[in-house]
């Protein structure tokens, strides 16, 4: 049984008050605990566990966010990321509602795997979704994340149908997600999405390797090199054939 306290606390992995890569402007990024994916390259392996993290009262998060409001003049706001924030959608609803009443811009950075009625309700308060698509091919997606991409693609359809703007984020991993054919297929799949505002290519990095070790797990891609500038330019080139705004983060 949940106590009253539980319904008002979120499991927070960490807070970055000066996020400049997770949505427009300056963002307070709340990294939430828990994820049902197990991406081979995950940079935040310490968010996997749903029950870990700091139990943070939504009042405290609300307060910290309001202190940041004056920094949001160039389109900034608050971004819920993770882990997978949709896992805590029910508890996020009242917080987002209050943030929205304060006029704050809200981003949701999600892998799009969960779309229940809590997530749908939560999306009402979200201004912009950052949808992480790990691979367009379902088998490859499963190989990378442990789950198929069926839900993620449905999530995108839902956003399109409900006129919810989103950016598509794509982690470009050498040999894992940078196949020529896959890039074109993704382009073809999404090219007619009117709600898709921007595509962000995220080059592969190894900054989170130590976290796997800290968690007592073995890093899955020890031999994968970082992308060469040519590989990044190549992928960008392909996506630009389908999308207006493609950036490399």
């Amino acid at each position: 049984m949940q106590t009253l306290q539980d319904t008002k606390t979120l499991n927070v992995h960490s807070i970055e008050s000066f996020g400049t890569y997770d949505g427009p402007g300056i963002r307070m990024v709340v990294f939430l605990q828990g994820c049902e994916f197990r991406c081979l390259y995950c940079g935040n392996a310490d968010t996997f566990d749903c029950d870990a993290g700091d139990k943070t009262h939504i009042d405290d998060l609300f307060k910290e966010a309001t202190h940041m409001k004056s920094y949001f003049s160039n389109g900034g706001g608050i971004t819920f990321s993770g882990g997978e924030p949709c896992l805590q959608a029910k508890k996020l609803i009242p917080l987002m509602k209050r943030l929205k009443e304060e006029g704050m811009h809200i981003c949701l950075d999600t892998n799009g795997h969960i779309l229940n009625h809590y997530v749908e309700e939560m999306l009402q308060y979200v201004d912009l979704v950052l949808l992480d698509v790990k691979h367009i091919d379902s088998d490859q997606h499963e190989k990378i994340t442990g789950r198929t991409n069926e839900n993620t693609l449905k999530f995108a359809e839902y956003l399109e149908a409900n006129q919810k703007q989103f950016w598509l984020r794509y982690v470009l991993v050498p040999d894992l997600s940078d196949q020529l054919e896959a890039l074109h297929r993704l382009g073809q799949h999404f090219q007619d999405y009117t709600q898709l505002q921007k595509v962000e290519i995220q080059p592969y990095h190894k900054l989170g390797v130590h976290k796997w070790e800290l968690m007592g797990m073995e890093y899955q891609l020890p031999n994968t090199p970082q992308n060469t500038p040519e590989q990044i330019a190549f992928a960008k080139d392909i996506y630009e054939q389908y999308f207006r705004d493609v950036v490399v983060n």
Binding site: S14, I15, S17, F18, T20, Y21, E64, F72, S73
Partner: protein
């Protein structure tokens, strides 16, 4: 307007005869042009009848709302001159930081012959001595310090100079003849440090614009009238003022002579843009020839000079390129200002700083802004002459400033890390004037109407340890404050420690005020700033500027005591040499009220304590949270603290959170600092933010936009000051290894900027160890 023909007194063999001719006729031409072209007359006002530069500025300035596209690169002459300067600086660095010293001539307004970088190319003339980067002696602060400085560079101080001080007293002699034993103890144990008792106090800003607007004759006239008004009956106050005014009048007369040495007629007002720049510089030069105060700010000159520049451009007398040339050459001269310091001075003020602080921008009381094209031109010098710590360019920021200017400032920060920002809305509201400059790093000073008495700072972290050690110094066991009981509990109890801490603060404050009163009494007596004060109203308002160091250590320590379990580990004498900390506690720098309120509370409490005691000349007490680079040396003198900081470890600079403890990222860190109330630290609250470029955003445009938003956000939250560094740790490491490749690498530290390569290795490492916000 009287037309003066100038006769140069320098030997003619040093000059090219034809050029003399040209120069004279050019000067003459300008005056003729004035009359013939009939440049627009200035809008008249109160400034015509009384000294009121602000009124002149308000009535005549042209606010500029555009972007930076009009700016011009350096001219050939400027580049040629600056190449000579760069070479001279190189020689200086190679020669242990000093190019040459004149050990015989006591520096006064007229002590040295005219000096040039390369005369034919100089649009703005004047050097402190007769040779570029030659340092002069100013022994009135304390001749022993000057002698030491000379010796450290293998030079003997002229026996004549030593002899003079056998018959006369210096500031330093005066202070020590009056110091109490308490003050000496607090000073030698490191509770009070960096006190200006053996060097010049600085910080007083002359209104250097006055010389350009009124000319020396008129200023003398006004001062004479003030002197007349100080009539019978004579009392202490009037006698002192009469002596001061008389000295000021002499200084003004000497400024006229200084001008004559350079062929300039400073008796009359400046007639055009070039003269206005030149006159302002001459007034400033007089000040830095006489005084080697730690900070010798320039004031707020850009908008004033813009009036002359705009007028000349409009009349077709000068081009944009010439306008930029005047400013570039003025700034070049300011970059070449030097003082002779002894090596120990480096500990508190590292990197040979001069604090030629110039405040740029800001709003006026009527809701308009004070940004002009010349505000841009000053910043443009950081491109035309490259990045530099001096002059200490300080942008008075308001979210209401025009976008074009805000964006340009942010771009300059991203490119050069050379400017600092201060909250104009806050200072105007709390302090009252919209015509102010910044003394040193963060200290508000109404230009020409107000001065301040610099008070260095006291070590608040060490003061906290008195509370835990029954009033004894944690290093030596010496009793410092009587009446602090030994703690009853083994585990530190918040209320008990706090009670003792308040007793310690009260005592430190009392002794600190005593020391300030003695120091400034003596400084006025033995090392009076006649040149600066000649350009300030007679009997100005005065602030005494106290300071504290170690605020973040104190806040975190109190937080640890309150929220975790802290047990001192004591040596055989009962002194706490270390602390065992069990449990977690919130740290300052994460926008967490539980600890931020402790920082805020201590700041205002200590500020109130300082205000309890009478001051010399009834100066109004203010306090800063600022360390310069002394955070390293303060750390060395301070034992382990209850926050887990080990003995000897450097403090965070200024009001910064301790390195690595601000785990919520840059904005949360800024927000903690923004909570400190400016009302209780009106001498300024310094904060330094270092970011790697990528943290600010993915591309140049985003970086500029985000930095602008940071500034808007931070100052809207009521914060006071921000240094912005945009560079990577790798660059700093590389500069440590290959200093010769980074002669101009500039980094902002508490309230000023330094050439990174001029810092000691300890200080370099400390800068590198600081929080660099590098999350993405």
């Amino acid at each position: 307007m009287p037309i003066m023909i100038h006769y140069d007194t320098r030997p003619t063999d040093r000059r090219d005869a034809r050029r003399i001719c040209n120069q004279k006729s050019k000067l003459f031409d300008n005056m003729i042009t004035d009359i013939e072209n009939d440049v627009e007359p200035f809008v008249a006002g109160v400034w015509n009848d009384t000294i009121d530069v602000r009124d002149f500025v308000m009535k005549n300035m042209t606010p500029y709302d555009g972007d930076a596209s009009f700016l011009q690169p350096a001219t050939e002459d400027t580049e040629l001159l600056f190449d000579i300067c760069k070479q001279a600086v190189k020689e200086e660095l190679a020669n242990n930081g000093v190019r040459s010293i004149d050990p015989s001539t006591i520096s006064r307004i007229n002590s040295h012959a005219a000096g040039y970088i390369s005369e034919p190319h100089e649009k703005i003339v004047g050097l402190q001595t007769d040779e570029l980067l030659k340092r002069a002696i100013k022994p009135y602060g304390g001749p022993r310090v000057v002698e030491k400085a000379c010796n450290e560079h293998g030079i003997e101080l002229d026996p004549k100079v030593k002899e003079i001080f056998q018959y006369t007293k210096s500031h330093n002699d005066g202070v020590f003849s009056a110091y109490t034993s308490e003050i000496r103890k607090y000073r030698s144990l490191g509770f009070l440090t960096g006190l200006p008792d053996n060097y010049a106090r600085g910080r007083i800003i002359g209104d250097y614009r006055r010389l350009a607007l009124y000319g020396a004759d008129k200023l003398i006239e006004f001062k004479k009238a003030d002197l007349e008004n100080m009539d019978s009956p004579m009392d202490d106050y009037k006698i002192r003022l009469r002596e001061e005014i008389s000295d000021q009048i002499i200084a003004l007369k000497e400024m006229i002579n200084l001008g004559e040495r350079y062929g300039l007629d400073l008796k009359r007002p400046a007639a055009n843009a070039r003269e206005a720049v030149q006159w302002v510089y001459m007034a400033y030069l007089a000040a830095v020839k006489e005084q080697d105060g730690a900070a010798m700010s320039l004031g707020n000159t850009s908008t004033f000079l813009d009036i002359y520049i705009e007028r000349d451009i409009k009349a077709g007398i000068i081009t944009e390129s010439e306008a930029q040339e005047y400013i570039d050459q003025l700034v070049m001269k300011l970059r070449m200002v030097r003082h002779l310091r002894m090596a120990a001075y480096e500990e508190i003020f590292a990197g040979d700083p001069t604090w030629v602080t110039e405040a740029i921008g800001g709003m006026d009381h009527c809701g308009g802004h004070k940004v002009t094209k010349t505000s841009f031109r000053y910043l443009q010098t950081l491109y035309n002459l490259g990045p530099s710590p001096e002059p200490n360019l300080t942008v008075l920021w308001s979210p209401s400033l025009p976008e074009g200017f805000k964006k340009f400032c942010a771009k300059v920060s991203v490119d050069t890390s050379s400017i600092q920002y201060e909250n104009d809305d806050l200072m105007r509201k709390v302090r009252g004037s919209d015509d102010y400059g910044i003394a040193c790093c963060v200290s508000y000073q109404e230009i020409g109407k107000q001065i301040q008495f610099f008070g260095a700072r006291c070590n608040l972290a060490k003061t906290l340890l008195l509370a835990i050690n029954a009033g004894k110094c944690e290093n030596t066991g010496t009793e410092v404050v009587a009446g602090i009981p030994a703690l009853k509990n083994e585990v530190l109890d918040f209320e008990e420690v706090m009670g003792n801490f308040k007793i310690a603060m009260k005592e430190i404050a009392r002794v600190y005020v005593d020391s300030m009163n003695i120091i400034h009494f003596m400084h006025d007596k033995y090392y009076y700033e006649r040149a600066q004060l000649a350009l300030v109203d007679t009997d100005p308002k005065i602030n005494v500027a106290y300071g504290i160091a170690g605020l973040s250590i104190v806040a975190d320590s109190l937080s640890a005591i309150k929220h975790a379990k802290v047990t001192p580990i004591r040596n055989e004498d009962g002194l706490a040499v270390d602390f065992k900390i069990e449990g977690e506690f919130p740290c300052y720098g994460n926008d967490d009220d539980r600890v931020d309120e402790l920082a805020t509370g201590i700041t205002s409490h200590f500020n109130d304590q300082l205000a309890e005691y009478p001051t010399y000349k009834n100066a109004e007490p203010t306090m800063s949270v600022l360390t310069i680079t002394s955070n390293v040396s303060y750390g060395k003198k301070t034992g382990a603290t209850p926050d887990g900081r080990a003995k000897g470890v450097a403090f965070a600079p200024g009001a910064n959170p301790m390195h690595g403890r601000d785990t919520h990222g840059a904005i949360a860190s800024l927000n903690s600092v923004a909570k400190l109330k400016y009302e209780s630290a009106q001498d300024g609250i310094s904060n330094t933010m270092s970011l790697i470029p990528k943290t600010l955003g993915n591309d140049d445009q985003t970086r500029v936009n985000n930095l602008t938003a940071v500034m808007d956000g931070y100052f809207t939250r009521g914060a006071h000051h921000l240094n912005v560094n945009v560079l990577s740790r790798e660059t700093l490491y590389k500069a440590m290894e290959h200093p010769e490749e980074y002669p101009q690498l500039t980094i902002r530290v508490s309230g000023y900027a330094v050439n990174f390569v001029r810092l000691t290795r300890d200080q370099q490492l400390e800068v590198i160890s600081r929080s660099f916000f590098d999350k993405m």
